[in-house]
């Protein structure tokens, strides 16, 4: 099993969610995060003073899947999250040792 973690632009979340659902993904977990990267933040003005805000709002999607699906999921996310402009984000893949559905106690692939 693997966990795919994707940092994307917030307004792409719905697209990506739909695409993953079409792929048969049943669940995922989403977190609002702040990203720092090549995409610069923005200027803000407060009482005449200027501030450079380095962090940009991003959305993190986490999906745990079986190892065979990794390529598909990565491809689908990257297709649907892409705008072609800087700041589109990253996808990381992590090993997962175990998974468990709390409600039923099912584990492994059956858990998700």
């Amino acid at each position: 099993m693997k966990k795919i973690e994707a940092i994307i632009k917030p307004f792409k979340l719905d697209d990506v969610k739909e695409a993953l659902t079409s792929l048969g993904i049943k669940g995922m977990t989403v977190t609002e995060v702040k990203g720092f990267g090549r995409q610069r933040g923005h200027k803000e003005v407060y009482r005449g003073a200027e501030y450079q805000i380095d962090f940009v709002p991003k959305t993190k999607i986490e999906v745990v899947i079986d190892s065979e699906s990794v390529a598909d999921v990565v491809r689908v996310i990257s297709e649907h999250a892409r705008t072609g402009e800087i700041g589109d984000g990253k996808i990381f893949v992590f090993p997962v040792e175990e998974a468990l559905r709390i409600r039923t106690g099912e584990s492994g692939k059956d858990a998700f």
Binding site: F11, D14, H42, E44, V45, Y46, E50, I53
Partner: protein
Amino acid sequence: MSCLHDVQIKKIGEGTMNTGDTAFILVSAALVMLMTPGLALFYAGMVRSKNVLGTIMQSFILIGFISLEWILWGYSMAFGPDKLGMIGGLEWFGLNGVGLEPHTVYATTIPHQLFMIYQCMFAVITPALITGAFAERMRFGPFLVFSLLWATFVYNPLAHWIWGGGWLSSLGALDFAGGVAVHLSSGVAALACALILGKRRGYQTEELKPHNLPMTLLGAGILWFGWFGFNAGSALAAGSLAGSAFVATHMAGTTGALAWIAIEWRMSGKATTLGAASGAIAGLATVTPAAGFVGPISASIIGLIAGCACYLGIMAKNKFRYDDSLDVVGIHGVGGVVGLLAVGVLASKAINSNGANGLFFGNPGQLGIQCIAIAATIVYTFVITFVLLKIVNKLLGLRVPEHEEISGLDLSQHDETAYTS
């Protein structure tokens, strides 16, 4: 402010100040001023959090911008010496001749300048109402230019027609506190704006939901509070007419809210708080032209009809698919029409001897006059608004570019963020 010509005959030459009346209009002017910040919150709660400051600003800055226009030329155009029933002359430019003595026609028991500033607050809130139509996508500079032009070329003439001794008042059209110049005009202008600016990115595909409904409810509460100054204050004296208008205002707000949530309950199984607030505003807007001409039961009926009609008005938007973002057409446009018609039907001389009877009180002609007022307001407002928008769009560009729409008005127009920690 109704029926100034009748009043004129009776009161010319009086002009003695009354402290009670003056106290009441001083406070009423303050109450109507407060409505614009109230409106700012009402609207701002309904936009996404990236646009909340931009939305507040579109109302807030008009307090400044239009007030300045008003003392320079607006008041003179609206209430200055009549020219052919169409417009006031510029004789009162910069408040020249607008002093502290009561005017002989307008509000004869309070300082003339107080009448002027009370009217100023109406001139301010009207273009602010329109901003709901183009929420979340208009550039700030062009918005200011448009608002100034609109106030000058739409609000001022309309106010003159109905309240400044213009042709609508000569015709006998009745509008107690702002069916023509405030609600119908802003509603019609909103339609033009929605059509010309086009839809927001994501309209009907993404969830463009209110980011802070308690803010909207607070705004609604403040608006309701201020509306007593708007409608009861339009009696321009602290007497029984003000009392009557106060009661009518409250009852229409009341039944508007109840009607709206009743329909919702039937249609979607739940009553929403936004529905209660929207219905209250619908009732209050609709009763505005009628407040000083109808009794409490008539006002309650007007509120009921308003709640239903404006609910349908909003459904219409979903059908015709223009993006009148915060439903100015559905509430103020529909409400303005219904309210002006209601005067033609339910007005009673028993309530206001300076008014007229409506259809139900034996005078069907009044309804015809009201229809003329409605038609004239719609046509004039739509045409001029359309032209003004086209011009400003051509010269300056009305709409923010797409990446600014995505990042939001707060950042793109004002270099600010509403909420941090």
